[in-house]
């Protein structure tokens, strides 16, 4: 990814976030700025409590930042700490794929329907949604668990179903909070290869929090958060 296109998919501009006030005040993010371009896979490192999850949640429009501005896929969504849309569900549905630290599958839907649901919410009819959901599950090598309820899935299987769900609507921005924490290193490698493939094929931006040094070589850039401050560690092997 030598030549980066002009327009970043994610543009974070001096975002700060603090929790609480006075003595209990925690500055989780301090003037963080970041730009991620289409096709890039970016890693977010940092010790526990350094603000990685907070940053992902702000980018995913789940958490209100205290100040700063943000653009997603060319749309200004945050201006001086104020959201410009009343809610971000349509935006998340169309543009953002989330892979959470905990899989967050809907417990009363089986693996296929967990994936098909987001396709249907985006307007696909039931048949098409199901077909695509099954394709995705196969792609993530959990096709054999298509009819299993989330409670019956192992951690790794559940995480792969969750990844299938995150990828279902071909989002251009994929946010992953320790996506490989629940996987062995072989599967972690497969998942990272997959995300990389998605980044290339869908021209998407991927931001992934990770501790896993074994997969550092699969990132284009590595950022490191310390005490709410972001610094560029360097470019990955690619």
């Amino acid at each position: 990814m030598a030549d980066t296109p002009e327009r970043p998919l994610v543009l974070v501009d001096r975002i700060s976030k603090h929790f609480g006030e006075g003595e209990t005040r925690v500055d989780a993010l301090r003037e963080v700025s970041l730009a991620v371009y289409p096709g890039q896979v970016v890693a977010l490192l940092g010790p526990s409590g350094s603000g990685k999850t907070t940053l992902l949640n702000v980018i995913g429009c789940i958490l209100d930042p205290s100040s700063g501005s943000m653009e997603l896929d060319g749309e200004k969504v945050l201006e001086d700490g104020h959201w410009l849309r009343p809610n971000h569900r349509q935006l998340r549905l169309d543009k953002i794929g989330f892979i959470f630290q905990f899989h967050n599958l809907i417990p009363f839907l089986d693996a296929t329907d967990n994936v098909a649901l987001v396709l249907q919410l985006a307007g696909a009819d039931a048949m098409a949604a199901r077909t695509r959901a099954l394709e995705l599950l196969d792609y993530l090598e959990v096709g054999h668990r298509r009819n299993a309820m989330p409670a019956k899935l192992s951690g790794g299987e559940a995480q792969r179903v969750a990844i299938a769900r995150a990828l279902a609507n071909k989002p251009r921005i994929i946010l992953a909070d320790e996506p490989t924490a629940a996987l062995d290193s072989k599967r972690a490698g497969i998942v990272m290869d997959l995300l990389r493939k998605v980044a290339v094929e869908q021209n998407a931006a991927i931001i992934a929090v990770t501790h896993d040094e074994k997969i550092f070589d699969r990132f284009d850039r590595i950022f490191s958060l310390r005490d709410g401050r972001l610094e560029l560690e360097g470019a990955g092997a690619n």
């Binding site: 998340r92 169309d94 989330f98 959470f100 630290q101 809907i106 009363f108 987001v118 919410l121 769900r165």
Partner: protein, 377 residues
Amino acid sequence: MNLAYRDIRHGLGRFLLTCAGLGLLLGVVLAMIGIYRGLVVDALTIARAPAVDLWVVEANTRGPFAEASRIPGDIREAVARIADVTAAGSITYQTVETEHGGDKLRLYVIGYELTRPGGPPQIAEGRQIARNHYEMVADKSSGLTLGDRIRLGRHVFTVVGLTRDQVNSGGDPAVYITLPDAQKLQFDLAPPAARVQLARGTGGSSRDTVNAVVARLHANASPDAVAETVHRWKHLSAITQEAQELILTRSLVDRARRQIGLFTSLLLVVSAVIIALIVYTMTMEKLKQIATLKLIGAPDRTIIGMIVQQALALGFIGFTIGATLIFNIKDYFPRRVVLEPDNVMVLGLIVFAVCLLSSGLGVRAALRVDPATALGG
């Protein structure tokens, strides 16, 4: 993909158990409504049975049900002669305790003149009384059957016909016998001193005493006007059918009616609170999933739809269980349970409204939930 249905199916056993519990509660509410209606209907049954327009009773009484009334039997002829009166009949009412099959049996004995108003309204089985003595038409609720022989006073009566649902306001089954038999029975069962007086024909009483004379009027006659005419005879009161029914519901069973009415209202309130709690809890338990739904981009209408549909399903299934239950067991109650379709429908609508309202509470909570709450472990 219907999320409400999927969630219910996922926890089907628990959902059905909740529905069954609610069903039992709503069954009790329906039973109470039925008991309430039954009480009012029972109270009016005996007064409606002769299908008359006017009750002539002892002066200054509100007889013969709310107060004791004794008038001479020959009043009937005088009443029959009044213009506008098409038919009149003497009636006696007395409660008699007897035995049948080794069990004590309380009967509400009605004596009437065979060819005049006052007899059983409808024979369900068997026939009307045909002979002047010792035949009886009994209500089925007494447990008596055709051909049964039963002792009243000094004589044994044969059951020749059966009625349905004829009980007095206390729930005692009615039996009909002829007026002469009833007067003899009254005499036989009177305390000895009174009996001596009656036998002598002294003390202003005679053996030809009845409790009321009932009269039917011409279709276009005014019951109030005829009542006024009777009243002018001084020693008699006349009560229109309308007034008689009012006396029965307002004074005779008024306390019982209000008691049950109040209890029914309380039960309704309790049911409403319980439905609201169940629906609210059902939603609260799903808050994390609702947050996840928001997180993956589900619009509010998907979330509202899920909550409202589940609340309505709960109400509908619960109500159906309750109604089915009560319709199947209502005839086993010792007293009448009257369930009119309109009562059932009103309760159904109340349940529907309560479910809708309480799902509103759930919806409020669900719409407020921050999608970020889905992220906690």
